[in-house]
Amino acid sequence: MSSPKNNLHEQVKLHRKNVFLEFLGSMNLAISILVVLAIASVIGTVLQQNQPYNSYIIKFGPFWHEVYQTLGLYDVYSAVWFLVLLGFLVLSTSVCVYRNTPVMLREMRQFRLRAKQKSLLSMKHSSHWQVDAAKNTKEYILQKAKLYLGQFGFQVKDEAFEKHHTLVARKGGINRVGYILTHVGIVVICIGGLIDGNLSLKVKEWLGTIKVEQRDLTAKDVPAISRLKPGESVSFRGSITLPEGSTSNFVFLNVRDGYLVQELPFAVELKNFRVEHYESGQPKSFESDLIIHDKERKNFAATISVNHPLIYRGYAIYQASFGDGGSELDLQIRPFFVKPLKGNKAQQLAIKGEVSKSKTVKTPQGNYTLEFSDFKKFNIFPNTDKDSRKQFTNYGPSIIFKARDESGQAREYVNYMSPIKLEGRYFFLSGMRESVDQDYKYLHIPIDANATMERFFKFHEIINDDARVLQMARATVASNIKAEDKTNTKMQQQVATAMVRLVGLFRKGGYVAIDKDIQAKVPKEKQLTVARAYMGVLQTALENMYLLVLREEGLDVIKGISKRDGTFFEDAVSAMAGLGYYGTPFYLQLTDFTQRDASGLQIARAPGKNIVYLGCVLLIIGVFMMFYIAQQRFWLMIVREDGGENFDIIFAGNTNRNEFGFNKRYRLFAEQLKALLTDK
């Protein structure tokens, strides 16, 4: 097939002047760059980018870390070699456009009337027939052919030659413009992207005029060499977390394993941050009410939300994230030990906390540092109702904190403010885990009739009071002993001591501690019997102490206790059995809070954006032109040999797209023209 494309290449070859340009504009180079760029891009997605260097060292070891870092693999897309590749792509595309455009424009304008008879006959779509010269004139044939082809939207032109007359109908030359638009589009996009890239920053860093800060400093302490004045960088994308009521006139730019401070020509104040939730507890919307303080202009208020940024003076302010901005917490420390906390006669101590701050608590077991990491006003979880239908329940506010002991060991806790209903009973829940990858293990503290923890702690206090335990043990032994043993004080003493010891073991480590004790001291064959006996004794002891609690509350326990009080006992005992593993020697109860949200804002400046969009539009228009507008050309050559009785008609056509559809059209045209021209 002799396509205009091949012809084009011929022409291009004639214009070859410069080997270097030839190389730059060559298809092989362009394709190679495309492939290498694709592979480089894959690396950037497989190797997580811009992580802290420490995590890379752990992952790859110091040697490979060094290699990867040198190759720029941690930030592939702004590595020098990647930018150079992009540069080559732009260059190659530009050269290609530069070289081909004149040829293509000429090609678009040309009708190619001078095609030779031979070449027309050798075309893929070609046919010829004869018309009686006696009945038709050349002019009449031409006129009919022009009218026929013209009605399909073809441009028609004809020219008389020495021995023949050629008519050319052409259409879709704009296909060539498609080529130009796509390639110019790519160049424009890359230029826009370059403006918005961090090239200027890289150069400044390389020149040493700026230095990435790696220390954890507050913004005002960051030295001038790590600060960028407003307008100093053409484009940037930084972020800042603003607690409600605070104002900032800078953002942080994350650069590799450090950051820079980018100053803004205005200040942003966060008045209010709102989160709305779906019924399922999923966030529905995040909104920040901002006030922009600008010395040069009037202050004004604006609200931004996800997908609805504020564009101001070429800076775009986005709602990016949210968090706690330092909610104030009122807390009660409820100790799991008997002696009151220092300087406080009460059995509990009120403290104040603030999210993202910490507080130290002194206990007989040493100091504990409480690091408050988060506060949640809602905790909505799915569960099923009585008809096993899915529903959502809000479990109310919670705090998350870490308690760090003197050796630096920390455990993480989540404590709910309000009692939570589980299997028909209400509990105060506190989850504990030793590391972040574990699930929380929960402590369930049952509530008393007043929906408080008072009874539990009263019960706990008695169990932990050695004097009262001994007193209770003696009383229990005395009341339960058989008549014949009444005089055996030694034995009574022994049983009471055993009871006290068992309660002591239970206090320390619950049933597990007792079990360990049996395994260590009792021969194997007797363990089961002893365990049963121990459990009986312990149960009696705990029950009697619980009755003391009830009596102190003023309840009449002679006639037995209510079912509810019975359940409380069981729940309380199982909670206490687990206390030895809870970690902190106190329970931290959230009693009140003042929530303070923080909004994560992203502030960006991208002056190249509109250039990129322009390039995109060119690209899209060009792609459609190239694919869907086929360049079609038909030749009709009329030849009359000297003195011949007929006109020889040669009809040929070619296209550069959609050969399949063109073939149909060619056959229709050939058939109709034949009928039309030989008509009469």
């Binding site: 494309k5 997908n307 899209i620």
Partner: protein
Amino acid sequence: MSENILPQQFQQQSWVKHLTIFDWLYAVAMLVGCVYAYNEYASYMDEYEIGILFLTGASLVGLGWAWKPFRLLFIIVAALSLIAINIYNPAMQALASEGITGQTAIDVLTDDSEKSKFFLKFLISSTSATMWMSALFFMATITYFIELFGRSEFAGKVATAMVWSAVTMGLVGLMVRWFESYLVGSDVGHIPVSNLYEVFILFAIITAMIYLYYEVRYETRAMGGFVLLIISASIGFLLWYHFDKGASEIKPLVPALQSYWMKIHVPANFVGYGAFALASMIGIAFLIKERALRKNPAGLLASRLPATDILDDVMYKSIALGFAFFTIATVLGAMWAAEAWGGYWSWDPKETWALIVWLNYAAWLHMRFTKGWRGAPMAWWAVIGLFVTTFAFLGVNMFLSGLHSYGEL
């Protein structure tokens, strides 16, 4: 003047004159539908969404005029969807008076209780319609191969009818799901292109529609089995996702997805994915045909599969279509990212893989246009392209983390 000289039979009528009364009725119905939707729901839409509504109407008119069978498809889908809505509306009101609303009420109407509605339960609730679509696609796959190897023209016609029916049910499923999402909660409602389950349905429908267009255009059903294989694979995934993961549950949108951009970005992307997938399956048919011609030119495969130049042409057209729409989708995605994430390009894994897919097919097209590459190498390349595309579509969500984490498994 042409009228004077060219005999009637040679006169070319303009395309407008080729339009039938049915074409015009279809266009009028579309306009009425758009105006009705505008009147009814304009207060819930922003100006962009109103623009999208009317542009969609115009595009559907254009599509129907250019591809006539689409008109009937559209009418049937619209009718079935409206029937579903009209069954839902009074039934939901009745349940609401008993205090049953939302997803629970939809479940009651489509489950085994005595309150369930027959047509919803068995035919046109979104879940049932989607199941019908799945079954029809599976059956069509088998039937196409019966046609191919059994030389049964009847089987071929049945297979084509099945694909049309599957597309119909799939579209009804999506339309009704759209409506159901508003029944779940007025703040939950959204166009069903927001998660992996929904876009898998979209993928199957779009791929099938592109195939149906080429089936008529090239007057061959021999490609059907191959194309339906990839559709069946996606349906297999869809069913696993539905039954094993409960993915069909309608969930509210995270804030980042609450944007008119989703309505255009996602469908454009799936025209791209669908076309690329189709091209790869045609590539496989091409390779089989070529091998058959070499090994056993008189054999069944060599004689039944379409000519290699037809397969080559379909493969090219499909990749060109995919490339054009994928370009649009990526640009729209960049514009959305600029609004939602604060930058039009962040080298997020999904973005980067979209670029890789784009570069891959750009290279493919360059080889064809400028080097004139045809045949087996291009077919192999199209098949490899499917793996690249699949990774961009699924692999990124499964193996890489990033901003674009809506379609997580």
